[in-house]
């Protein structure tokens, strides 16, 4: 999914969002269920985003969703039930696994970071 590769650059252009994640240093898996990305977050910035698997790289939590879920989540006006990360887990289109603390402690940050392609739709291939 090309849209994911563009998220770090979109985040770099969102200083308020980086500020909200300023205390967050975390390794996590984000993206499509079958081919997620390792994301390295430092001080609220995604400093590395690499397709998984990466040999012996650890991660604390994983949020992965179906390709359909991401396409729906990134629509300019998402449909009911497809408009929130936890709506997607409730409808079993996404899975949340691992040590959830960094995700829950920065929940709005992750919701907004993963929604960035929605705000930049023209540049996104979903």
């Amino acid at each position: 999914m090309g849209a994911f590769a563009g998220i770090p650059a979109l985040l770099d252009q969102a200083p308020a969002l980086i500020h909200r994640g300023r205390t967050l240093d975390c390794e996590c898996l984000l993206g499509p269920i079958d081919h997620p990305f390792h994301a390295s977050i430092r001080g609220g910035r995604i400093i590395d985003l690499t397709p998984a698997p990466v040999l012996m790289r650890s991660w604390r939590f994983s949020y992965r969703a179906s390709a359909l879920a991401w396409a729906e989540y990134w629509k300019p006006v998402p449909r009911p039930g497809w408009h929130d990360l936890l709506a997607l887990t409730k409808r079993e289109e996404a899975v949340l696994e691992g040590d959830l603390h960094p995700f829950m402690a920065h929940l709005q940050y992750f919701k907004d970071v993963l929604a960035l392609p929605r705000l930049h739709r023209p540049t996104v291939a979903s």
Binding site: V77, P78, P80, G81, H83, D84, L85, L86, A87, T89, K90, R91, L100, H101, M104, A105, L107, Q108, K111
Partner: protein
């Protein structure tokens, strides 16, 4: 004086709830049929400020919104010694009835949202004769849990941030940013563990499955309205609940989520105005249930 002053007036009323004195903050505006408004879990009566400021509704209704104990400007009672707050079905029901009694409200309409919508169903089950009509927003007899409430109250997660972030997805994407932020601001200001304690009623103690069938909408009309973007109390949850209640009115509200009155008051008004008009057309009954 040049500043615009809104019409609602806030005061405190001293209410005995289960024998314990409580100091309850409420705001009101208008005159006519009492319309008591119940806020959602973990928030407070400010959610109703747009309805309280509605000049048209205020011509025919005395609109009242109170903060539940532990919420907003209603402090915990003086007898509280720090134990974990947990709202129960019985305590919630007692609180509403005691508040209405303290203000000597004659056959009020009660409109509640979320946990307020759930307790409205219990009022319909147990005390229908006391109310002119009941309105449940985002109401169902039960809904499937979608997160672990222990995240709401722990020292290593900011309570205000997590409460707001969890419910942020329940707001419709069409809702104006200013009202979205204000709705979430209410959640950021709750006391530690209060949202979680409210959800004890919602998740554990207040399962009304198998009980709503007994609701007599002939004794008290029941209106259920749910936003299409509410994935906590979904439209299907409300439809399922209503299907078990003969005569219940159901409306699914487009472009609204779990907080219709605060997230998009203009859109909500389109749906609640017909309900309030219908209530105005109801025949009046005296205390013995006779037409007057």
């Amino acid at each position: 004086m040049t500043g615009m002053i809104e019409p609602m007036i806030g005061r405190y009323v001293h209410v005995e709830i289960d024998g314990e004195p409580h100091r309850i903050y409420f705001e009101e505006s208008g005159a006519g049929i009492p319309l008591v408004c119940l806020h959602t879990a973990g928030s407070d009566g400010r959610q109703w400020r747009h309805l309280l400021a509605d000049e048209e509704f205020a011509k025919r209704f005395r609109i009242i919104a109170f903060d539940m104990p532990w919420h907003g400007k209603s402090n915990p009672p003086a007898s509280w010694s720090g134990e974990e707050y947990r709202l129960t079905t019985a305590r919630y029901t007692q609180t509403i009835r005691a508040f209405c009694k303290a203000l000597a409200l004659e056959k009020p309409v009660v409109m509640g949202c979320s946990i307020g919508g759930r307790i409205v169903l219990n009022l319909a089950i147990e005390h229908a004769g006391e109310f002119r009509a009941l309105i449940g927003l985002e109401a169902a007899d039960f809904q499937a849990p979608w997160y672990d409430t222990s995240w709401l109250h722990r020292p290593d997660v900011h309570g205000g941030e997590i409460c707001a972030a969890l419910v942020s997805g329940l707001i419709a994407p069409q809702s104006p940013d200013a009202w979205r932020r204000e709705t979430l601001w209410g959640y950021m200001q709750g006391g530690p563990g209060v949202f979680k304690g409210d959800l004890y009623f919602y998740r554990v103690d207040g399962d009304l499955r198998g009980r709503v069938e007994g609701i007599d909408t002939g004794a008290c009309p029941l209106y259920l309205l749910t936003g299409e973007y509410d994935f906590s109390c979904t439209p299907d949850d409300t439809r399922r609940t209503a299907a078990a209640i003969t005569g219940a009115s159901v409306t699914i509200m487009e472009q609204l989520g779990h907080f219709p009155m605060s997230e998009n008051p203009d859109q909500f008004r389109r749906y609640i105005a017909p309900v309030l008009n219908q209530i105005l057309k109801q025949p009046s009954f005296d205390k013995q249930g006779e037409h007057v």
